[in-house]
Amino acid sequence: MPASLRYVLFAVWVLALASTPLWADNYFVRLAIIIAMYTALVQSWNFIGGFAGYPSFATAVFFGLGSYAGALTQIAGLPSILAWLFATAFVGAFAALFGVIILRLRGHYFAIASFGVVEVVRLVISSWGSLTGGGDGLNVPLVTGGPNAVAQAFLAVMITIMLVAFAVTVAVDRSRLGFGLRCIQQNEDAADMVGVDTTRYKVIAFVLSAMFCGTIGAAYASWTGYIDPSDSFSILMTVKVPVMCLLGGPGTVLGPAVGTAVFLLLEEVLWSNFLEYNRAILGALIVLIIFFLPGGLLKISLHKIVARVIRRNNDAKGAP
């Protein structure tokens, strides 16, 4: 598929999501919001996990900190949009600080450290009752307006964040930064030798992967009106996001959007039909993706499949 056609398809997909209030009921609007939200999360993860190839499982900590930062500033009286921007900056600063420390680790150690950060922050938030409400959670000031208006507003917000994240992805993909990150992914020592400033690049990628998660977390808190530690810092989310990226194609521009859409639509269908076994099915899905789609959906080439089928046919005919 030529690149331009891919972008056209992506534009059509975004329009379809954005126009759900016009042609579908609230269920689909909600689904569209969730899809836009996860697409932005997966696009964020793509910077560190896809381009730089660092197995980060820290998405949940960025999301959770963003939601708490947004909620607390709103309770203190800041208007929503400013609160979301504050959450973005706060989470970005947090990621820069932690990135400098844990990005010195590689492979398994980095993965464990990112899990560790999620746990520590979750535990601190749950036990710091006076500020965060502890395990009881926090009520966030609700956005005024009817349910339909609110849903449309948050759809617009999520799609905007998703498009900004997409624009940044395109920019990174075409810049020196993207090139440097790919070098790091292939061989960090060699990249370092030829003059890529690996530490700086990795920290930038880590901060990029955090900021949008912060915005989304804050917007999510405003949307649902209630947050608690176990929901905001969920291990399931922190693994689901990389899986969606793997499904679409890590390190590509459109992979995150494709992976998220396919994964969430599948999950939605499975969830409604097999309520009791949804986790097992999710697990089976992960296993299948890893076995049969190692490079993601975008790496499947129609030409190659057709060629293989034709060759197999010919072999079958040629055999006596």
Binding site: Y109, R279, I286
Partner: protein, 286 residues
Amino acid sequence: MFYFQTLVNGIVLGALYTCLAVGFSLVWGVLNIINMLHGSLIVLGGYLTFFAWHSYGIHPLLALPFVAVVLYCVGYAIQYLVINRVVNQPVLTTLTLTFGLDLILYNFMNVYYTATPVRVTLDLGIVDFGGIVMPVDRLIGMALALVLTALLYVVLRGSRIGRAIVAVRMDRSAAELMGIRVEQIYAITFGISALMAGTTGAVFAMVYPVTTNLAGAFLGKAFVVCVIGGLGSVQGALIGGFVLGLVESFAGQFLGPEHALTVGFILLLVLLVVKPTGLSGIKGFE
């Protein structure tokens, strides 16, 4: 006297943590895989023990060998059929795969056993030793945990298979050239790790209530113990287990029980950054 009680609690906890983490550490060191299944395997062992006791009246100590065999077979099969296919891929792939398997196991356990906490209650009474109080079942649990860990050490040290496992850990390609069938060693290693997880679960079920929701907490402990002690060696797990047990026990005493976990994880982050080889100093395997 007060401190002695905390100290003894920490030591008992440390023995359990050692046993909990030693299998996880083995798989990480030898296969270079972070096994997200470990927590659920522990819970599975606990449930099997509980139901053997509850439904058939089998004493937990008699059920232990049975649990060990079942878990070994489960672990061997998982590694041989599933994980071996991607064992040499980057950490993201293997970690995600084991997480997927964990979701499957977790879901089936939730459906078949439900998430109610279960515990084997033996009612063995309490030992009072000069003011230090300790339930007997915990002491038995501690002894069992140490015996199991020691057994693993002996197997790794003394048997042919154990030497092969250590050889694969040190240098996979050289081991292959010496005629070791690496794929099979991987499966055996994973089987042993699952066995250790299952027996730990059996021990836990005698001491604390076990439920599926604890799988994540067990896994977290295994992370922390491995990083504190250093990877892939029984000694490392022993040091890590006791350090974590004591730290949690004292932190719980002085800072309040809700902060004991936090301190453990902060220790994990600090050690990762300062000394990723762990306190035992045996070099990790990147």
